[in-house]
């Protein structure tokens, strides 16, 4: 039974990492949002599975939040926003896809090496694997944020980074409930803020391309 539990947890957590890679090579905004929804769905399953094997019922709430809020409402809202505001449909990258993928692989190797060595003493193999995979997802999310130009794809990068954090929080056995709720809650707040910003940015600029914002950076002459 234990091996079976481990295998499924392993499968779900590692597919989160794979989907993070998929996020990196998407070149259309809609596809990017769909892949993000897929990642949130996988996260919901991973969290629910942890809730089952740890017998921690409060984690089902986190899973439900991931499923309903992150896998459905957020991608839908962003979809509409892109449509309504007539935002450019292509994802512009700062660095090409191939170098980004290579860097991503390096980051995954790094986080697996670091985390497995670090948690050698830990008794639970699931927690070890989870931590290694979640650090990979976090680093890949960060990588995505720095290699994208559009505000929407940076937001998606940030949310995928948050997915990694939630995976880590649920993998830590018995981490108090207050934290899961707060994580989910902060995502909600973050989305509101982001929404407000995107709207205002749209109000002032003709594009939500962060590169355009950068023109105003630095000292005003």
């Amino acid at each position: 039974m234990h091996d079976y539990a481990f295998d499924i947890a392993h499968l779900l957590a590692s597919s989160l990492v794979l989907v993070s890679f998929m996020l990196i090579y998407q070149d259309r905004i809609y596809a990017l949002l769909n892949v993000f929804a897929l990642q949130a769905l996988l996260l919901a399953f991973a969290v629910a599975w942890q809730a089952w094997i740890q017998g921690a019922h409060h984690l089902y709430v986190s899973a439900a939040i991931a499923l309903i809020f992150k896998a459905m409402i957020v991608p839908w809202a962003l979809h509409r926003m892109v449509q309504r505001l007539g935002i450019q449909r292509e994802v512009e990258t700062v660095v090409g896809v191939v170098p980004t993928m290579l860097v991503g692989m390096g980051l995954v190797a790094l986080s697996v090496l670091l985390m497995l060595q670090l948690t050698e003493a830990a008794e639970s193999a699931i927690a070890r694997e989870d931590l290694a995979f979640s650090l990979s997802v976090i680093l890949l999310g960060m990588l995505m944020m720095v290699t994208r130009r559009n505000a929407v794809s940076q937001v998606v990068g940030f949310m995928s980074l948050e997915n990694g954090l939630i995976l880590a929080a649920t993998g830590a056995q018995g981490m108090p409930f207050v934290v899961e709720i707060s994580v989910a809650f902060s995502v909600l707040i973050a989305m509101i803020v982001i929404g407000v910003f995107l709207f205002r940015i749209r109000e002032r600029f003709d594009t939500v391309d962060v590169e355009v914002l950068d023109q105003y950076r630095g000292e005003r002459q």
Partner: protein, 481 residues
């Protein structure tokens, strides 16, 4: 009233005020409501000094370390609210904000105070993280208040960098929990500071090491340490000036407090790496980098924002060295920097309204056109540059002497950074204060009382530091190890 009532008041007052201000129409009433709420919060915080302390609870606690931060926080919160009340009306007149924006601004101000106070008194690493996140999000919104190109860009950049920082800090928090969990058991007990401190010796040191790196980078982004400082100058320059004062004077301190707490945790574990060298390196890099950047600024608020990076560098350097003297110096410098830097931003706010511009080149001869403001600025800038007899001179002197005894070679770098910053600030100051007044000379609206009050305190502490304060800081410095 007992201390736990006072502790509750420190949190409930700003939260309730935020709700009330959000409903209150009319900006005058809400501006003074903001001042009144901030004053009551300060009074509640100050009463914590005399009241008997309660036992640490599952969520809140008060000890020798955080009481210094909380009193400073509520005091500057109050003076900045007072300045804001006199300042913000003119912003409305010249059409930079709308009445609805202002209502929002005052509610957010109290919400931010709530977040910072909660972060300082929380006894739970998870709760502290949530509180710092809340304080950050409210300041992001306030930085974007003017809705100009620059303000939106600054807010966006602050938001993105701040979120990445806070995400890394959360990962570090999770790792600390995982290190604590085998020793302290599952659930709530493994997140409580007071428990963590007693059990820290038997945590897995490797786990703590990695956790600390994440926490230092995460919260260090909020402290504004180079190379994670990119949000700071923009956020200071584009937001309303009272918020620049609060950012520099308070929010940076709250993030620093989090770093110090985790440093204490590391020190309690014999196998963990000593966090000192990491903090010393980051502090020195910030100091020298920011001091060099001071020379090329054209915007007055950016100039003083870089000066904040420089001073946070000095403080982190001092705490990184450790030992009673260096910790004492770090604490004193933190308090002096908060008071002086917020005083400078109060002056800068008035200057920007008088001149209708933040460009350094357009600000000339203030001592002639507005003597009280001009000389106040001279005094404040000389203080922050480290001239005697201000309190900043005393704390910088202590940092330099303790660094001589502990790491003589690095003292050279430290002194170089200090001199660079001194030169840049003096060069700019002569331009601001003396010569023929130039440009627009509108009447002044901002109150000068908070500026002079802060400067009086800084000078008083520099000339004659009260024995009670010396004793207090010595206790805290010993606690910091």
């Amino acid at each position: 009233m007992t201390a736990s009532d006072a502790l509750t008041a420190v949190l409930v007052l700003p939260a309730a005020a935020a709700a009330m201000l959000a409903l209150m129409p009319g900006y005058r009433a809400s501006a003074w409501g903001n001042v009144a709420a901030s004053f009551l919060t300060f009074a509640a915080a100050a009463s914590l000094f005399v009241l008997e302390r309660p036992e640490p609870g599952a969520f809140l606690h008060i000890d020798d370390l955080n009481i210094v931060f909380i009193v400073l926080n509520t005091f500057v919160g109050f003076t900045a609210a007072f300045f804001s009340a006199s300042y913000i009306g003119h912003e409305l007149e010249i059409g930079r904000v709308t009445p609805v924006n202002l209502r929002f601004y005052h509610a957010m101000y109290q919400l931010m105070m709530f977040g910072m106070n909660l972060a300082l008194v929380s006894n739970n690493i998870g709760l502290m993280w949530v509180a710092i996140e809340l304080a950050t999000l409210t300041t992001v919104v306030m930085v974007g208040l003017y809705r100009t190109h620059e303000a939106l860009e600054a807010a966006w950049k602050y938001f993105i960098l701040g979120s990445v920082g806070i995400a890394l800090a959360l990962f570090g928090t999770i790792l600390v929990y995982m290190a604590a969990q085998p020793v302290l058991g599952e659930g709530q007990p493994s997140m409580i500071w007071t428990n963590l401190m007693t059990g820290a010796a038997s945590f897995n040191p490797a786990m703590l090491n990695v956790a600390f790196v994440f926490l230092l980078v995460g919260y260090g982004t909020k402290v504004g340490l180079a190379p994670f400082h990119a949000w700071l100058p923009d956020a200071h320059a584009e937001g309303p000036t009272p918020i620049s004062a609060v950012l520099s004077g308070l929010l940076l301190n709250v993030a620093l407090y989090a770093v110090l707490r985790f440093k204490l945790l590391m020190a309690a574990n014999p196998g963990a790496l000593t966090p000192g060298p990491l903090m010393v390196a980051l502090g020195l890099i910030s100091l020298v980098f920011a001091a060099a950047m001071l020379y090329r600024r054209r915007d007055i608020k950016r100039l003083f924002a870089y000066s904040s990076i420089e001073h946070m560098g000095i403080i982190v350097f001092a705490f990184g060295m450790g030992g009673p003297l260096a910790n004492f110096a770090g604490l004193l410098h933190m308090v002096m920097h908060s008071l002086t830097k917020s005083a400078i931003f109060f002056a800068v706010g008035s200057i920007a309204q008088i001149k209708g511009s933040q460009k350094i080149a357009e600000i000339r001869g203030l001592t002639q056109s507005h003597p009280a403001l001009g000389w106040g600025l001279v005094l404040a800038v000389l203080s922050i540059a480290g001239m005697p007899p201000s309190g900043v001179f005393m704390s910088e002197f202590l940092v330099v002497t303790s660094s001589f005894s502990q790491m003589p070679l690095l003292t050279l770098v430290l002194v170089l950074g200090l001199l660079l910053a001194f030169g840049a600030l003096l060069m700019r100051l002569t331009g601001f204060a003396f010569g023929e007044p130039s440009g627009q000379n509108a009447p002044m609206y901002g109150s000068l009382a908070p500026l002079w009050l802060h400067m009086a305190l800084v000078l008083f502490i520099g000339l004659h530091m009260p024995q009670a304060m010396v004793d207090w800081f010595q206790t805290v410095a010993a606690l910091l190890g």
